[in-house]
């Protein structure tokens, strides 16, 4: 398969192409590689929330409590209406809205803004 990082279609300025929407499965996260040292471990976790207007949510993939890049492999759901992913290591919940850990106030993971255009998912700066 072609690597979209090399084979990008018309890219909105300063946005980085991540993957095709078709590569995502509703509710089941995937990991993505990004260049740029501002992303811990240079990995992100990408989630597709289906619905009338499907939404793509991207967090840093590194679970700071478990100490491993695994959030993309967690189960997605909601706690009192807020979309979250449960880390597969010790089941801490991280908000897909603001990245905070619901069980530990002082812990959070980065959240990245995204743009979905023409079937492609972009990370915004």
């Amino acid at each position: 398969m072609s690597d979209p990082m090399l084979d990008a279609p018309s890219t909105p300025s300063r946005a980085r192409l991540l993957c095709a929407v078709d590569d995502l499965v509703p509710w089941a996260g995937v990991a993505g590689r990004v260049s740029g040292s501002e992303v811990p471990g240079r990995q992100v976790a990408v989630f597709l929330l289906p619905g009338e207007t499907p939404e793509v949510r991207v967090l840093g993939n590194y679970d700071p409590i478990g100490g491993a890049p695994v959030l993309s492999r967690g189960i997605v759901g909601d706690v009192a209406g807020e979309a979250v992913v449960a880390s597969p290591l010790y089941k801490h919940h991280f908000s897909l809205v603001d990245g905070r850990c619901l069980e530990q106030d002082d812990v959070s993971v980065p959240v990245y803004r995204t743009l979905v255009s023409d079937g492609w998912v972009y990370l915004l700066p």
């Binding site: 089941a28 759901g77 597969p88």
Partner: protein
Amino acid sequence: MQQWSNDMNILVIGNGMVGHHFVMRLTEQAPQARVTVLGAEPHAAYDRVHLSELFAGRRPEDLMLADPSAYADRGVVAHFGDPAVAIDRRRRRVTTASGAAFAYDKLVLATGSYPFVPPIEGAEGPGRFVYRTIEDLDDIRAAAAGAGTGVVVGGGLLGLECANALKHLGLETHVVEFAPGLMGAQLDQDGSEVLRGRIEALGVQVHTSRATERIDEAGESPLTLAFADGSALGADVVVFSAGIRPQDSLARDAGLECGPRGGIVVDEHCRSSDPDVHAIGECALYDGRIFGLVAPGYRMAEAAAGHLTGSPAPFTGADMSTKLKLLGVDVGAIGDGHGRGEGVLAYTFQDPVRRVYKRLNVSGDGRRLLGAVLVGDCASYDTLLQYYQNALALPEAPESLLIPGSADVGLSGDALPDAATICSCHNVSKGAIVGAIDGGCMSIADVKAATAASTGCGGCAPLLKSLVDGELEARGLEADRSLCEHFDYTRQELFHLCQVEELRTYDELLRRHGRGYGCDICKPTAASILASLWNEHVLDDPHRGLQDTNDRFLANMQKDGTYSVVPRVPAGEITPDKLLVLGRVAKKYDLYTKITGGQRIDLFGARVDQLPSIWRELVEAGFETGHAYGKAVRTVKSCVGSTWCRYGVQDSVGKAIALENRYKGLRSPHKLKFAVSGCARECAEAQSKDIGVIATEHGWNLYVCGNGGMRPRHADLFATDLDDQTLIRYIDRLLMFYVRTADRLQRTSVWLENLDGGLDYLHAVIIDDSLGIAAELESRMAAVVGTYRCEWRATLEDPERLKQFRPFVNGAAGAGTDDGPVFVRERGQKRPATRDERERLRNDPRLVDVTELSS
């Protein structure tokens, strides 16, 4: 009386169940107490009530109550195998057979009883035994080897226990009773007859109204019992079990007051005629009675301990109601079974097909229960006992309590007074349970932990549940059993909904019965239910996002985010060629290798993207997935069995392989572990497994709902001497019943403890098919077994499934990525680096040996 002081020497003669209970109780109340125990038997205290189980595969160790180290930990000095022979009350000394002397300030006699042997000609000599101690059983076992016929003299409770033991030894078993009926002390004549019918159906021959006059040695058999009516019975082994007599000779010789027919006279504090000497258990005579059951003995022990330490707990007699299983037959007797009083109304129920007999003896005004007899069905015992013990007003139509099933729901906890005993095993009152709830207990599990209620025989579980539910509700704390915030249903209810409405996806289930997005509780639960019902591949589109990460990648996530791989090795049997394959694959992918507790080999440290290629090699070599990642059937452990072992009686490996291949892949509320042992030595540790199978001479004994791990539970013996087909049938039914009714992540052990009616109920459902669902459970299992496919083989064959193992949605394989796994080498294998080691390796990510790092 002399005030309690820790300096006092407390001497206890006798280390049976009651003597042991006294020691434990006293040392709980006064941890500094100076206690010495003298025991005539070479062992510490053991559970005499279950003696006959020694012939059903249990070992003497299993019956032990007193762990020698437990005594040592409490500072108790134990002196066993040396009987006390004299009490010198003036000098307060006791001497033993070996000549040792022990001083006391307070003496407690717990000398128990001895078996009564009728004074007939020929009562002693070879082949004639009593039934009381582990040594007696050893003697009987030795004599039974090669013998054909065993006769028990005495048809009471102990006699029937003893008959059970002889039957287990493979003897043609006879019971001879002097009175017209079996268990005459507890049962009325009709009840005796039904019991007799059931026991004879088991192949035990019963002879009632037979007075044994003498035992002759001249005749065709080694021994011949001659009866008063002129008839005779040949035997190889004769066991006397014709009642007990209090062991009071020490006390009598010491001049303590004893009853005319034996027994040391005691008051409500179990004090004898000498205020420094107490007597408890079967050697003590209170109010002219000997109490020959263990529960009253325990109450006496508590009375004596309480009196000594200044917190009196007077013994004022005990209810002799009892419920037990004799030769597999349920028998219950409450109060006066014969209905002897004036104007007593008797209600009876007989079911000649199921061979059930029940009788209620009710006061003339129909208001109070005076006694009851239950044979063949004890389901209503606990309810009836509450009516009897608490003198509760009976329903308008008392006969309604006799109808099968009615009494199960007949009585609710709030009808009872605070003093009512809920759990007779641990003597827990309703007041204590209400107190525990006041103290913050919020569930049945909390209450059990706080009070020990319902942790003995479990017979009071339904009543406890009704009481706790009622109390919580009264406080506005109704137990919320919803699975999570997305479903107002229990797992059992969701299972039912999926089955009845034939729901095949989580989305449908959520749309119809739930709300929100779901979560990491309800999604895997639903995934498990759907897999148990329809057995579709867990990685297929609608199911993939529901799985916990282990199921989603068909491997076990470790602390660093890598996975371990466990191929199935049924029963732990593996060819050298397959071992070489495992070694080759582990070496090629540099996987840390360890033998598991389930007789398999675990390969650690694989990245997600390596899993398919590792498995391709394993599948090609003939391995299948081991489901180590799933809440599913894991392993069937086995010993080597009769094929090689000198002691094995059956092919345990072959049986374990057959079981593992049958049930592999079954998804369940929690993991399931099995084991099969080839003989009673039990090297496979089957009694700590969810399903344990132990070979016998005649077939297989099935144990269920055991557990190791954090919360060990000894499995319950469920059925004995099963043939191959029946064994499979029971396991099919039991597993499917568990899959259908258990809570999420509830192991079989906890499931059973929470099952209303406990083991008896499970028996009824699985063996007697009381719910009429056995056929359906079997066909559900057949469907799962019939649709089994190795999940890894199926994954490798499908590119869509394989795609999910790409490490990154936008790139190829992942080694060398920042924050990918970092390993170091230790003891010749790799392992995840610690955080500290990762820091040190940040600039030099080679795989180094830890010894290099520490330098």
